[in-house]
C-alpha cells in the first residue's frame, strides 16, 4: 500500500506503537478513487446522556506525508471511522477499510466485536480480502476476529452506506460480521491505546487505566476509518482514523448515593498536560440546564470556554477545558474536573430517547422458539421509517412465514424487505426490512424458529452455556426538534456526525439491540465414556459367564478327606507307619 504523500514520495510512515509490533502500520491508499468503507456505529438506546457526561476530544496532528490522520477520542456522540488495517507483508490488502468496534457491558452482555469492510475489487477477491482483514485485525486488537468466516458474514443491502467521500454504492462489495461471544477486556484496550500518538503516556489518554474502565456498566471501544477531503477544494483524499471509547460509570451506586463526580473519583488520576503531538486537546462537560431553570450544577475549576452544540436533536451546553491553553494549569499542576449538584437530587426522570428497542427470545423446550423485537417511537407526532437488519445463525432455522409485524394492534407491512435464507454450515439468515414507525407507538416484530442438532464435532467446549445470536441493527433518520446544522470538521471534530444529513430536520441514528442466548439440544458428551464402561462390563459379565458355561467341564469330586483333626491323625499314623484312616 502506498502512503498518501504530499510530494515527498516517502513511502514509509512512522508507525505509532511500532515498538512492540512489527509491520502493523496504518497505511492508507489513494491510488484510486475507491469505494469507501462503511463503519457501523451508533449508540444503543440505553446509554442516555445524563448531565455530566463527558465528551472528550483529542485531535492529533496530521501525520507525516499528509496521510490525514485524525484520532478523535470521544465519548458519546457520533463515533467515527477507521480501521487499523495493518498489513505486515506489505500486501495490497487495499482500501479495505473496516470499522471494528467492540462493546461489552458488565451487567449485561452487550455487543461484540464486529467489522464492516468494503473492498473495491470484484467478486471473489472481496471474500479473500475480508478474510485477510479479519485475521490482521485479530492480531492487532488481540481479539478472536479470525473466527469471522462465511457462517457469520452477511452482505446487507440497505442498512449500511459508504461514508466519507464516497463514489459508488454497490452493496455487493460490503461485508458485515458480528461475533457475539467475544469479550472486551484489557488486551483489547492495550493495542487501542497504542494507536494513539502519545499512547497512554500523555494527554487525555493517561486517564485510561483498565482497572477503572472495566469496572463500569458499559464499555465500548471502536476504531473507524473513512476517506475525507484533504482540504476544501477536495482534490485529494485523506484517510481519517477515529478512535472512540465509551464508558458508562455507575457513579451513583459507587459514589455513596451522590451524583457528584470528579475525574479523580472515576479514573483515580487527573490530567497533567496535553499530548505534545496533539493539535487540540479538550475536555467537554455537559452542563445543559434541565427545565430551563437556573444552574443546578456547578463545575470546578472554571472552564476555559463554553460551547453550545446540537447533539441528537437536543441543544446541549458544554463547559470546555482546553488543555493547550496556558491559563488552565496556572494554579495547579493537575486538572481535576469536578461536578457538584447544588440541590440534593430530586427524582427527575431521564428523558426517553425518541427511538429505542429491545429484543428477546421466548418459547419453551429445545425444539422451537420465537424471537421478538420491540421498537418504540416516542415522538409525539412524527412518524419515521427504520431499517431493521437481523442476522440469525444457520442453526436456528427461521420460519419466515411466521414473520408478523404488529403496530398498535394492526399489521404493519414493510415497504422493503430483503431476505436471504441460510445454508447449513455456509451462511446465516439475513433479514432486512424497512418499517414505518407511527408516532408514539410500539412495534413488535416476531418470527419463529426451530433449533437444529449440530454434529458432535461442531459443539464448542462449553455447549451448555448456550449459543449467541448477534444483535440486530436499526438504522433510522430520527426527526429532531431543533434544526441541526452541519458542523465543520476542522472546528469541532467531536460534534461532526459521520452521517451528515441533507436537511437539518433529522439526524441519523443506529441502534444495536441486545444479543440473544439460546440453548441448542446438546448431547451428553460424557456418554462415550459411560458407554464404554457399560459395554465392557456387560461383555465381561455376560460373555464371560457364557464362555465358562460352554467350555468348563465338570468332574465328580472325591469325597472330602475329612476335617483337620482327621488329617492330623493321618499324619501321625503315617509317621508311625500305620495305614491311614
Amino acid at each position: 500500500m502506498d502512503a498518501v504523500a504530499t510530494g515527498a514520495g516517502n513511502n514509509s510512515l512512522p508507525c505509532p506503537g511500532q515498538a512492540q509490533r512489527d509491520g502493523l502500520c496504518l497505511h492508507s491508499t489513494a491510488q484510486k478513487q475507491q469505494h469507501q468503507p462503511t463503519p457501523p456505529l451508533g449508540r444503543t438506546s440505553t446509554a442516555t446522556p445524563e448531565a455530566g457526561a463527558i465528551g472528550r476530544q483529542d485531535r492529533k496532528r496530521k501525520w507525516v506525508g499528509g496521510a490525514g490522520g485524525h484520532a478523535g477520542g470521544g465519548a458519546g456522540a457520533a463515533a467515527g471511522s477507521g480501521a487499523g488495517a495493518g498489513d505486515d507483508a506489505g500486501r495490497a490488502a487495499g482500501g479495505a477499510a473496516a470499522a471494528a468496534s467492540a462493546r461489552g457491558g458488565r451487567g449485561r452482555r452487550l455487543p461484540v466485536p464486529h467489522a464492516v469492510g468494503r473492498r473495491p475489487a470484484a467478486g471473489g477477491s472481496v471474500d479473500k480480502a475480508w478474510k485477510e482483514l479479519s485475521n490482521i485485525l485479530s492480531g492487532i486488537f488481540c481479539a478472536s476476529l479470525n473466527f469471522i468466516d462465511s457462517t457469520n458474514t452477511v452482505t446487507p443491502t440497505a442498512s449500511f452506506k459508504p461514508l466519507g467521500v464516497a463514489n459508488g454504492t454497490d452493496h455487493r462489495l460490503l461485508r458485515y460480521a458480528v461475533l457475539p461471544r467475544e469479550v472486551v477486556c484489557t488486551e483489547n484496550l492495550t493495542p487501542w491505546k497504542k494507536l494513539l500518538p502519545c499512547g497512554s503516556k500523555a494527554g487525555l489518554a493517561v486517564l485510561l487505566k483498565a482497572e477503572r474502565l472495566f469496572h463500569s456498566s458499559y464499555h465500548s471501544q471502536a476504531v473507524h476509518i473513512r476517506p475525507i477531503c484533504r482540504d476544501a477544494s477536495c482534490l485529494a483524499v485523506s484517510w481519517e482514523l477515529r478512535q472512540t471509547l465509551t464508558v458508562v460509570f455507575d457513579s451513583f451506586t459507587s459514589g455513596q448515593g451522590k451524583k457528584d463526580w470528579s475525574l479523580f473519583k472515576m479514573f483515580s488520576r487527573t490530567l497533567t498536560d496535553a499530548c505534545p503531538l496533539a493539535s487540540e486537546s479538550k475536555v467537554y462537560v455537559d452542563i445543559s440546564p434541565k427545565n430551563k431553570e437556573k444552574q443546578l450544577l456547578e463545575v470546578t475549576p472554571t472552564p476555559t470556554s463554553v460551547h453550545e452544540a446540537i447533539v441528537q436533536g437536543d441543544k446541549t451546553t458544554y463547559a470546555v477545558y482546553d488543555l493547550l491553553s496556558p491559563v488552565l494549569f496556572n494554579t495547579s499542576r493537575s486538572l481535576n474536573v469536578q461536578l457538584k449538584w447544588k440541590r440534593p437530587e430530586d427524582s427527575s426522570e431521564l428523558s426517553t430517547p425518541i427511538m429505542h428497542a429491545q429484543r428477546y427470545v421466548s418459547g419453551y423446550g429445545l425444539q422451537t422458539g420465537e424471537i421478538s423485537t420491540l421498537i418504540y417511537n416516542t415522538h409525539p407526532y412524527r412518524a419515521f421509517p427504520v431499517i431493521l437488519l437481523e442476522t440469525v445463525p444457520w442453526y436456528l432455522r427461521l420460519y419466515v412465514h411466521t414473520l408478523t409485524i404488529i403496530t398498535k394492534g394492526k399489521e404493519n407491512k414493510p415497504s422493503y424487505m430483503h431476505y436471504q435464507p441460510a445454508q447449513d454450515r455456509k451462511r446465516p439468515h439475513l433479514l432486512e426490512m424497512l418499517i414505518q414507525l407511527p408516532a408514539n407507538s410500539a412495534t413488535k416484530i416476531t418470527i419463529q424458529f426451530e433449533r437444529a442438532l449440530l454434529k458432535w464435532t461442531e459443539y464448542p467446549p462449553d455447549p451448555n452455556h448456550g449459543f449467541y445470536v448477534s444483535s440486530s441493527v436499526l438504522s433510522a433518520l430520527v426527526p429532531s426538534v431543533i434544526a441541526m446544522k452541519d458542523v465543520n470538521v476542522e472546528e469541532s471534530p467531536l460534534f461532526t456526525s459521520l452521517f451528515p444529513s441533507s436537511d437539518g430536520s433529522s439526524y441519523f441514528l443506529r441502534l444495536y439491540t441486545e444479543p440473544l442466548l439460546v440453548n441448542l439440544p446438546t448431547p451428553d458428551f460424557s456418554m462415550p465414556y459411560n458407554v464404554i464402561c457399560l459395554t465392557c462390563t456387560v461383555v465381561a459379565v455376560c460373555y464371560g459367564s457364557f464362555y465358562n458355561l460352554l467350555t468348563r467341564t465338570f468332574h465328580v469330586e472325591e469325597p472330602s478327606r475329612g476335617g483337620l483333626a482327621k488329617r492330623l491323625a493321618n499324619v501321625i499314623r503315617r509317621l508311625r507307619g500305620v495305614p491311614p484312616i
Binding site: 514509509s12 510512515l13 512512522p14 508507525c15 511500532q18 515498538a19 512492540q20 509490533r21 512489527d22 509491520g23 502493523l24 505486515d88 461489552g104 458488565r106 451487567g107 452482555r109 478474510k131 485477510e132 485475521n135 490482521i136 485479530s138 492480531g139 492487532i140 488481540c142 481479539a143 478472536s144 479470525n146 473466527f147 461471544r181 467475544e182 469479550v183 472486551v184 477486556c185 484489557t186 488486551e187 492495550t190 493495542p191 487505566k209 483498565a210 482497572e211 474502565l213 472495566f214 469496572h215 464448542p460 467446549p461 462449553d462 458428551f525
Partner: protein, 380 residues
C-alpha cells in the same frame, strides 16, 4: 658500581615492565573474558510460549499461573512481540469477577498479574491442541498475523510454560480434548529438525506433570514439572472475596523466586530446580536435564526468562549511505559500526544490561536477524 646500578635499574625496569605486561595481559584477558561471556550460551533472541489450557471460572488459578509467568518474562525484558500468550478463558472480565480487569496471584489482592498492558494472542476458543502445535512447529496458515506466530530461529531460546489439568501422559485442553506426551515430544523434534530453537526450557504445572516430559528425545531441552507421576499438584490458597483458588503452589513459589530476579542477576538453573521443596509444594517437583548439553549450573535464569541482544564486534568499517538519518558519529571510537536506518528510525534509544556491560542501541532490532552490526557505546 657504575655498571651494576644501571643493571639494577634495568632489572627493576624489566621487572616493572614484566609486571605491567602481565597486568595488561590479565586485564586484556579479563575484557576478553567478558566479551567471551557474551557468546557462551549461543542464543541471540528469546521467545516465550505461555499456555493456559483450562476453561471455566473455577480454573481461575491456571490463568493466574500463566499470567504470573507472563509478567515475570515481560519484566525481565522479553517484549510482547516475542511472547505468544494463550489463555483458554477470560477471567479478568468474567462477569463473576468481583474486581474486573484484574487477576490476582495472592489473597488480599496484593499483586494484579493481569496488569495494564497485557496482550493475549490466542484467547478463548482459539486455544486448541491444533493451534498450539501449529504455533510450535510453524505450520500456520498464511493469513495468521505476526503476533500469533512463533518466529524463532536456530539461535532462539524458547521458554514453554503450560498449565492446566493433566494426567499420566496427557494434558487436557478446554475440557474437550487432550495432548499426549508423545505428540509433544514429536512437536519438539519437529522444531529441532526445522532448527526452530537453540535451547528449550519446558515448564509444566499440572497433576502428574513429570509424565509430560518422559518422552522427549530432542537435544537441548530442560524440562521442569510440578509433580511426579502419581502425584497431584495442589493449589495454594483460596481467596474468600473472589471465591476460587488463586494460584497453584509450584507457580506461586516460582513467582516469588522470579520476583527476586532482575535482568542482570546471575541465578542459575539449579536455583530454579529447588524453587519449591516438598514441604511447600506437597508434591515432588521434578526436572530433566539429560538432553541438555550444558551444565545447569552454568545456565542463567535470564537465558530463558529474560531477553538478550547480542552484539558482534567488527573491526572493519562500513561506508555510510548518505541518506542516513538519526545517527551521529562518535568522535571517541575511531572504528564504528552503523546500522542502516530504515522506516523505523524514529525510536528512542534503549538500554540493555548484560553481564555488566551497558549497550545503548539506537534502534530496536528485528527479531529474525541473529547477529547484528550495530552502533554501540560503552558506558561505565
Amino acid at each position: 658500581m657504575a655498571a651494576a646500578v644501571p643493571a639494577a635499574r634495568w632489572a627493576r625496569a624489566a621487572a616493572a615492565a614484566l609486571l605491567l605486561g602481565c597486568c595488561g595481559a590479565v586485564l586484556a584477558g579479563g575484557i576478553q573474558d567478558q566479551a567471551e561471556q557474551f557468546f557462551k550460551s549461543g542464543h541471540t533472541n528469546n521467545w516465550a510460549v505461555l499456555v493456559c489450557t483450562s476453561r471455566f471460572w473455577f480454573n481461575y488459578r491456571h490463568v493466574a499461573n500463566t499470567l504470573s509467568v507472563y509478567r515475570s518474562v515481560k519484566r525481565l525484558g522479553i517484549p510482547d512481540s516475542h511472547i505468544v500468550l494463550m489463555l483458554a478463558d477470560d477471567m479478568a472480565c468474567n462477569p463473576r469477577n468481583p474486581k474486573p480487569a484484574t487477576v490476582f496471584s495472592h489473597k488480599n489482592m496484593e499483586l494484579n498479574v493481569y496488569g495494564d498492558d497485557v496482550e493475549v494472542d490466542y484467547r478463548s476458543y482459539e486455544v486448541t491442541v491444533e493451534n498450539f502445535l501449529r504455533v510450535l512447529t510453524g505450520r500456520i496458515p498464511p493469513s495468521t498475523p505476526r503476533s500469533k506466530r512463533l518466529l524463532s530461529d536456530d539461535r532462539s531460546n524458547i521458554l514453554i510454560y503450560m498449565t492446566g489439568h493433566g494426567g499420566n501422559g496427557f494434558l487436557k485442553f478446554q475440557d474437550s480434548e487432550e495432548i499426549t506426551n508423545v505428540e509433544l515430544a514429536d512437536a519438539f523434534e519437529q522444531m529441532w529438525q526445522k532448527r526452530r530453537y537453540n535451547e528449550l526450557l519446558f515448564i509444566i504445572d499440572t497433576c502428574q506433570g513429570a509424565s509430560m516430559y518422559e518422552r522427549f528425545y530432542s537435544p537441548n531441552i530442560i524440562a521442569l514439572a510440578s509433580s511426579q507421576v502419581g502425584e497431584d499438584s495442589l493449589s495454594h490458597q483460596p481467596d474468600l472475596g473472589i471465591g476460587v483458588h488463586l494460584m497453584d503452589r509450584y507457580t506461586f513459589y516460582m513467582l516469588e523466586f522470579l520476583e527476586e530476579v532482575h535482568p542482570a542477576s546471575q541465578t542459575n538453573m539449579n536455583d530454579l530446580f529447588q524453587v519449591c521443596p516438598k514441604s511447600l509444594c506437597v508434591s515432588t517437583p521434578g526436572h530433566r536435564t539429560d538432553l541438555f548439553q550444558r551444565d545447569p549450573q552454568n545456565v542463567l535464569i535470564t537465558d530463558f526468562f529474560g531477553s538478550v541482544r547480542k552484539v558482534e564486534i567488527m573491526t572493519e568499517t562500513v561506508s555510510l549511505d548518505r541518506n542516513l538519518t538519526g545517527f551521529e558519529s562518535d568522535p571517541i571510537l575511531p572504528e564504528f559500526i552503523w546500522l542502516p536506518s530504515g522506516p523505523r528510525a524514529a525510536s528512542s534509544p534503549r538500554r540493555w544490561w548484560h553481564h555488566g556491560l551497558t549497550v545503548v542501541l539506537k534502534q530496536p532490532l528485528p527479531a529474525l536477524l541473529g547477529c547484528q552490526r550495530m552502533h554501540w557505546q560503552q558506558n561505565h
